[in-house]
């Protein structure tokens, strides 16, 4: 069995397991988990909002690590740098997807729970800034005509990663409309034991989905890089033939 076929089969199995995990997690969130006493059923947004928000703060670090590797390898080992660059763009896109969901589900929840769609408090604003930074990263890569777009984007990514701990700590550093941390937020934090299975399965399911998207997008980018390399080699060979 060839390597690409093995990867394809592994990806398919992973995809099916992920869909099963998300389906089970969604059933737990909507049907099995108890209705929250204060907010009622709208609190069930929590089971999608919090796991995707947590993951939207993890994928930037994949982007950060890959960007550092790209900057280190770009002159020493260009082929390794290309690999790092593929991981970087894949993780940046997945970050934008998860951060978009975090913001959107947060607004839908906020309108029902607080009566407002948006407020410029520290958590919401720093999260919006994170989203804007990674959208900027993608636009820079897409639109820049300098020939240094990937290097500039890698530098931007290093600065963007600084916003991640600010987003995480914002609800502890400042008084915000956003609730205090659900986990690791002191003696009063945490959720009822009956809600933990729904929450845990959603974290697992959406983490598996994020990894699937990351690897699928990475594979697509590597294929694109390979096609570009082939086209460049053909152009060089053609120009050499003309010169002769």
């Amino acid at each position: 069995m060839t390597r690409s076929r093995t990867y394809g089969l592994t990806g398919l199995v992973w995809f099916l397991l992920t869909i099963a995990a998300i389906a089970y997690a969604t059933r737990l969130a909507l049907v099995v988990a108890p209705t929250e006493a204060t907010m009622g059923n709208v609190q069930r947004i929590f089971y999608y909002h919090v796991p995707t928000s947590m993951l939207s703060l993890l994928f930037p670090y994949v982007n950060f690590g890959a960007s550092l590797c790209y900057l280190y390898w770009r002159r020493r080992d260009p082929l390794k740098a290309l690999t790092a660059d593929a991981v970087a763009i894949a993780s940046a896109e997945v970050t934008v997807v998860y951060a978009s969901i975090c913001l959107l589900t947060g607004m839908l929840w906020g309108r029902a729970a607080w009566g407002i769609w948006w407020t410029w408090d520290a958590r919401l604003t720093s999260m919006l800034l994170l989203w804007l930074l990674y959208v900027s990263y993608l636009m820079l890569r897409k639109l820049s005509a300098t020939g240094q777009a990937h290097t500039l984007a890698a530098v931007l990514s290093v600065f963007a990663a600084i916003d991640v701990p600010i987003v995480y700590m914002s609800i502890q550093w400042w008084r915000t409309q956003h609730p205090a941390p659900v986990f690791f937020g002191g003696p009063d934090s945490g959720i009822d034991a009956s809600m933990k299975p729904a929450f845990g399965w959603n974290v697992l399911g959406w983490a598996m989905w994020g990894i699937f998207l990351l690897l699928f997008r990475y594979a697509l980018e590597r294929r694109r890089q390979e096609l570009e390399q082939d086209a460049a080699l053909q152009a060089i060979e053609a120009s050499l033939e003309i010169a002769q």
Partner: protein, 58 residues
């Protein structure tokens, strides 16, 4: 617990439904975008099993 309440007229039911559907649409849309490019970009070109260069030990 029955799930039919999620299609009810209340704001909380609407917002919960919108939130869950939005998540599936965004995630599914992005996955479909990758899959579409995977199927259509460089049609006929197969990724080789030796994509990495000779200097790549990964």
């Amino acid at each position: 617990m029955k799930l039919s309440w999620i299609f009810g007229p209340s704001m909380e039911a609407h917002h919960l439904l919108y939130a869950y559907v939005a998540v599936w649409l965004i995630q599914g849309g992005y996955a479909a975008w990758i899959a579409w490019h995977w199927m259509h970009d460089g049609m006929g070109a197969r990724p080789s099993d030796t994509l990495n260069g000779p200097n790549d030990n990964s």
